[in-house]
Symmetry: C2
């Protein structure tokens, strides 16, 4: 793909929680505030789309950063089950459940002890940086 | 939800290709150019998010309109299998596959004869109207 022209229409094949041509990467720079999370950017800056689609996967026992930001998250769970912290409460999240994280809501995701927890996450392309809590 | 203030963070439960509190509606006004398609708006104008998330489901034998528009589509297949037409070619789409539809690409989705075909579709909130082809 090329930043100078829009990407061509295409089908990106899925198999075992990987998409063709997409490499899983670390969730963020190494830090004590998260553990055992990978990120696949399915639609990102190269596509020149005003939103980005990522797939995050948390290994059993792992968790994302506890953080907040002004941009919203829309999440759809695709693998296993886990929990989301929204402010002061933790809620279970199972297959297909949608999570809406409102602007500046402190939030965190974690997997259970026995299975990975994977989810799609949609954000606007132009967004602020997360603030760790 | 209320258009005057942002929506609260929440988990929207999934069960049998329905989401709690979301009613399936017709895909579009009745027309000869599509058949047997329903739409669920999972994240729409009420959420004041700069992108919208919809779930479309096509009954066996049904299809969406053949159309184009300047805004892009990002689709993730969630139920059954079907096909997408991208310009002159038809491609199979199976579970988890991602479809990127570029600006102004003529496109159409159809289900096979034996099972429904359901997919998530993400679009920008501020978008142009489709042009039937």
């Amino acid at each position: 793909m090329n930043r100078d022209k829009p990407s061509a229409s295409r089908v990106i094949r899925f198999s075992e929680f990987r998409w063709a041509g997409v490499e899983p990467a670390a969730y963020k720079e190494p830090s004590a505030d998260w553990s055992a999370v990978t990120r696949q950017i399915l639609v990102g800056p190269e596509e020149q789309v005003p939103f980005h689609l990522r797939y995050f996967e948390i290994e059993p026992g792992g968790h994302t950063s506890y953080e907040r930001h002004a941009h919203q998250h829309v999440v759809v769970a695709l693998r296993g089950a886990g929990e989301v912290r929204l402010g002061d409460r933790w809620e279970p999240v199972g297959y297909g459940d949608l999570v809406y994280v409102a602007p500046n809501e402190p939030h965190q995701f974690r997997a259970g002890a026995d299975e990975p927890f994977g989810f799609l996450c949609i954000v606007q392309a132009d967004r602020d940086r997360p603030i760790p809590l």
